[in-house]
């Protein structure tokens, strides 16, 4: 670990005063479960770390006037699991449960979960996020890499497990900075990006921009779910995942949001899968068709063809669960 300065902010405004305008010089510290590991391996080497865990406004879970929910970035995953309002969003609860580690749930925050860095083993072994302009993953072992949206140099997968659910549910981020007076509400679906050049991050925040809250619209009728294909009950990342939110009326799907996780450099919103469902009842066959449609956009690398099948199954099962049906699998 590189020697660094530890700073602690007590207010939202105080954070900005401590953040540098130069990329990589300062990092926010929430639960630290991801950041500290990255610093120990010197993948991230900030001069200053800014703790945001002592800011009271970041610890709230509050209903909004419209019937939605505001969640502070420093709320722990455990607190979310225990909250009655959050229970109205099954897709989110299922995603957090899936993390399956008391330690991570007790220490990790929702802000940190959404902002965590990719697990790509080339990145984590010091080759940078694009890992030699994508060649390491394209020509090397890519079993856990992207099968969608991977034509550019970014081949890693977005790691957040709550993001597919949050995007399907229509979440926004409240972002502050870079200037003291700057406040914006960014749809989470526009937060992530596949970087094209070395040095770019996997999200659109500029230095001195940061996330204070996650804002959810009203829960609606709760026809939403997350399904993850996991090879272990431990805190291992899924091989593929999907979140689905359905608006059902008269037994048929009026609107659908399908978002895949762990398959692309960003959470992957599948419009084609949603389109297939519109106007149809949810059955194993229509859910399968949605999965099939989703993978029509897949572009697997030589080493990860199998993930296409997993993506299909994840979509199918998320849709079935959202409609309250059995998945037929684990």
């Amino acid at each position: 670990m590189k020697a660094f300065e530890y700073a602690e902010a007590r207010t939202e405004a105080g954070v900005l005063e401590l953040l540098s305008a130069e990329p990589g010089k300062t990092e926010l510290l929430a639960g630290g479960t991801d950041l500290i590991g990255l610093m120990k391996k010197m993948i991230v080497t900030p001069d200053r770390v800014v703790n945001i865990m002592e800011i009271p406004s970041l610890k709230v879970i509050e209903p909004t006037a419209e019937g939605g929910l505001v969640i502070g970035a420093a709320v722990t995953l455990d607190d979310l699991l225990e909250n009655d309002y959050v229970r109205e969003y099954p897709a989110l609860v299922q995603a957090i449960r899936g993390i399956n580690s008391m330690q991570l749930q007790a220490q990790g925050t929702l802000g940190g979960e959404v902002c965590q860095r990719p697990r790509c083993w080339f990145f984590r072994n010091g080759h940078g996020l694009l890992a030699e302009n994508g060649t390491l993953a394209a020509e090397g072992d890519s079993r856990y890499h992207a099968v969608f949206g991977n034509q550019g140099p970014a081949k890693f997968v977005s790691s957040s497990r709550t993001a597919p659910a949050l995007i399907a549910l229509g979440a926004h981020l409240r972002v502050l900075g870079p200037a003291a007076e700057d406040e914006s509400f960014l749809p989470l679906s526009e937060f992530y990006r596949a970087p094209r050049q070395a040095g770019q991050r996997e999200h659109v925040l500029e230095p001195r921009q940061w996330v204070t809250h996650i804002v959810l619209p009203p829960p609606g009728d709760q026809h939403n779910a997350t399904y993850e294909v996991r090879d272990s009950e431990g805190p291992a990342f899924p091989l593929a995942a999907a979140a689905a939110r359905l608006e059902l009326a008269g037994g048929v799907v009026r609107q659908a949001q399908i978002v895949l996780g762990q398959v692309a450099p960003t959470p992957w919103v599948s419009q084609v899968a949603a389109d297939v469902l519109r106007g149809l009842p949810v059955t194993p066959a229509t859910a399968e068709a949605a999965g099939q449609a989703a993978i029509s956009e897949a572009t697997p690398l030589p080493g990860n063809q199998y993930k296409v099948q997993l993506a299909k199954v994840a979509v199918k099962r998320a849709v079935l669960l959202a409609a309250g049906l059995e998945t037929g699998g684990f």
């Binding site: 072994n125 390491l136 090879d231 272990s232 099948q309 699998g329 684990f330």
Partner: protein, 739 residues
């Protein structure tokens, strides 16, 4: 004093042996009071961190340590590999930085400037043709045996070739299979390393080791000292599995740095270094043809296998192929492959887990081909005497019967691929069997009985977490008629009398030998003293419930304390030893065991789950059923790990070991292991053999048993372990495209 006849009490006469006793150090471990090497922090300590080579194959062009030396907090830099050295695997330690804190050491390490000439790498150990083309292979032995002998004029190879062909042609059933197991690492939770300190020219070393009594010489040799100038301590160890027998070059480096700086030094490997350089198990892949008669009795086996034990070549020994079930006619040949990986180390039952997974899968495929119950095919081969094992076929058969009941085999069995699916989930059963030696190692126990009745033993053994301490105390308590908490066991120091390294399942035999012998010798002396007071023949006495009493007349007794008071001023000191290989009434060797797995497979995702796992194991006389069973639970979990999760992944482009982190190096969690049922097989004919180690045998069968269960579920063999979702789906797809 009459000559002491060493023996174990009968089942009925045993008061402590055979009872489940909690580990004596359980509480200390659970509360953190137990001090592991990592926890030893002498005053003024320096922390050492080493730079591991980032490349799988390279030559060091230059090393510049000047910036590292100038880093704040850095006290000493030592180069381990000079410029010009060829490095043949990723992670090899190049230079060490010792500093005032861990952070400073890591920063100093990052400031080391090393230039490399990167060389070609080869790590594709599964691909024999590629290895041959790369000139990386060498013959690794083999053997052929046929019932018919070649005539005097026959060319032997030609004869064998013809004979094997003939036997295969005449077989009612022929199976051609491909199976394998990837390399895994030891992945000790506590990495390798030591904390060392020089005191008056002598080295004090707290070393995470399986070999307390043997590593003082290890340090001494490399530091040009004598073993009496080195004390090694290891009270607790966080995993070794066969990889922690020596100080290793990083231990020696720690001692050198401590000498150079005059300060204590702690040098533990980083997690990735632990996985990359501190121990791995060779991979093995096999192509085999077997021929069987109409009853499934295998008549001929013909195999070639290959694999790697790292940059030196090596692999799975041919001597254990085929495994336990061995037909009368066989030919086996092995090829070693040199890959750019660190050299393998002994891993729990070296060679056996891979051999089992590469052989008994073929027997299961034979059952599948015949549409027969795998249990019946295993049984037919045992009954036909197709066995090369350190245990008797009859014992396996008895153990299979027990296992079958516990897993409800007959009711749950269905022919391969013919189970009733629930949605996309299918279930299946599989079994395997194994053997191991487990002979008692050398061990000396020094025993002190104090005039106040205190009992204390000293023995240079180590407790790998398996309950060695507890077993020693149980033996002493049994002999003296005391409670386990009334005796004190001292282990984990090379100052204590020599006891063998804990490898090869040799420890429980070793320490129970020395502790029983010493305690029986001491008891005879106490009996002599007590006999005067009791006015009875020493031979008529027994030690029970804290009393020395006359057999058959329990009122004629004095307390243990009172008997010991007769020692006078000085404690009674007794030493007794066992020598490995000496015949003894207390221990022997050669065990067997059978294991059965019940799995579920999700055909759409390829995910495999263990529903239930049954292990039936014999190990002679069981001292402590609780720790004995724990050992088997742990082994089964470790087996599930390599069957479903664990693998070393070398990036094919760079040769890098890219999953050398616990986040990426997959291991099962409690939720992944299903219900594990352990049955200790200890009828009188096994118990009377004395103590035999069981540390390794139960880890052998899980790979084959689980692979067979998955094959039974799917009707498709997923050839290579671990059975990841990727591999399961690929096998299903391949089968579908063939059909």
């Amino acid at each position: 004093m009459a000559e002491v006849k060493y023996s174990w009490p009968s089942r009925d006469d045993s008061r402590v042996i055979g009872q489940s006793v909690d580990r004596l150090d359980g509480l200390a471990k659970a509360t953190g009071a137990a001090k592991y090497t990592y926890d030893i922090n002498p005053k003024n300590l320096l922390i050492a961190k080493a730079l591991g080579c980032p490349h799988a194959h390279c030559r060091i062009k230059s090393i510049d340590t000047s910036a590292a030396e100038k880093t704040r907090g850095v006290v000493h830099v030592e180069i381990l590999k000079e410029a010009g050295s060829e490095i043949e695997f990723q992670g090899e330690l190049i230079a060490v930085v010792a500093a005032e804190s861990e952070g400073a050491a890591i920063e100093g390490r990052a400031a080391l400037k090393v230039q490399y000439d990167v060389l070609d790498t080869f790590t594709s150990d599964e691909d024999l043709a590629a290895a041959e083309q790369a000139g990386r292979t060498s013959k690794a032995g083999g053997k052929a045996q046929t019932e018919r002998e070649p005539g005097d004029d026959d060319d032997e190879d030609e004869f064998i070739e013809k004979e094997i062909d003939r036997l295969l042609k005449e077989s009612a059933h022929v199976v051609e299979g491909y199976y394998g197991v990837d390399a895994i690492t030891h992945c000790c939770l506590e990495p390798h390393g030591s904390t060392v300190e020089w005191k008056d020219g002598k080295l004090e070393a707290w070393l995470s080791t399986q070999n307390v009594s043997g590593t003082d010489d290890g340090f001494a040799r490399d530091l040009e000292l004598t073993a009496d100038d080195v004390n090694v301590y290891c009270e607790y160890i966080g995993g070794g599995f066969g990889s922690k027998f020596a100080p290793d070059y990083w231990g020696i480096s720690a001692a050198r740095i401590a000498r150079a700086t005059g300060r204590p030094v702690k040098f533990m490997l980083d997690r990735d270094q632990e996985l990359k350089i501190a121990g791995n198990r060779p991979s093995g892949y096999i192509k085999v043809r077997i021929g069987a008669d109409e009853n499934g009795v295998v008549k001929v086996w013909d195999s070639v296998h290959w694999g790697t034990a790292g940059f030196t070549g090596g692999g799975v020994s041919h001597t254990v192929i085929p495994y336990v079930l061995v037909p009368k006619n066989y030919r086996r040949n092995a090829t070693a492959i040199k890959t750019n990986n660190s050299q393998a180390r002994a891993w729990r039952a070296p060679n056996h887990p891979q051999a089992c997974a590469m052989s008994q899968t073929a027997f299961d495929d034979l059952a599948a081909k015949m549409g027969k119950d795998s249990y019946d095919v295993f049984l037919a081969n045992l009954k036909a005497g197709n066995v090369d094992s350190q245990q008797q076929p009859a014992v396996y058969i008895a153990e299979m019967e027990i296992g079958a009941k516990l897993i409800d085999w007959k009711a749950k069995w269905h022919p391969h691929g013919k189970g009733q699916p629930r949605g996309s989930i299918v279930d299946g059963l599989g079994m395997a069997l194994h053997t191991w030696g487990g002979v008692a190692n050398d061990s000396t126990c020094q025993l002190k009985i104090y005039p106040d009745g205190g009992v204390e033993s000293f023995c240079g053994t180590q407790d790998l977490g398996t309950g060695t301490r507890t077993v020693c105390a149980m033996v002493l308590a049994e002999t003296f008629g005391l409670k386990v908490n009334q005796v004190k066991v001292n282990i984990g120091s090379s100052k204590f009398p020599n006891s063998g390294a804990s490898g090869g399942s040799t420890t429980v035999g070793a320490v129970t030998e020395s502790h029983r012998r010493a305690s029986q010798d001491a008891l005879a002396k106490i009996f002599d003293l007590a006999s005067q007071e009791l006015q009875a023949d020493a031979g008529s006495l027994e030690a029970v419930d804290g009393m020395i009493r006359v057999k058959g007349s329990p009122n004629q007794a004095i307390t243990w304390k009172k008997a010991c008071a007769r020692l006078g001023m000085k404690p009674l000191e007794v030493s007794a030893s066992h020598k490995r290989g000496d015949a003894s009434p207390l221990s022997s060797s050669g065990v067997g065991g059978i294991q059965m797995a019940h799995v579920e497979v999700d055909k759409e995702t390829g995910v495999v789950k263990i529903k239930k796992f049954v292990a039936v194991q014999d190990q002679g006389l069981v001292i402590n059923p609780k720790t004995c069973k724990s050992q088997i639970y742990g082994a089964v979990i470790m087996g599930i790990a390599f069957a479903l999760h664990e693998q070393r992944i070398n990036d094919p482009q760079t040769g890098a070991f890219i999953n050398a982190e616990l986040a990426d190096y997959k291991l099962p969690r409690l939720g992944d292991v299903g219900e594990i049922v352990v049955e200790l097989y200890e009828p009188e004919d096994q118990r009377s053999r004395g103590v035999i180690g069981n540390g390794e045998p139960p880890v052998i069968s899980p790979g084959a048993a689980i692979s067979n269960a998955v094959c039974n579920a799917l009707g498709v063999r997923v050839p290579v372990l671990p059975l990841t979702p990727q591999r399961v789906l690929e096998a299903i797809t391949k089968q579908a495209s063939r059909a």
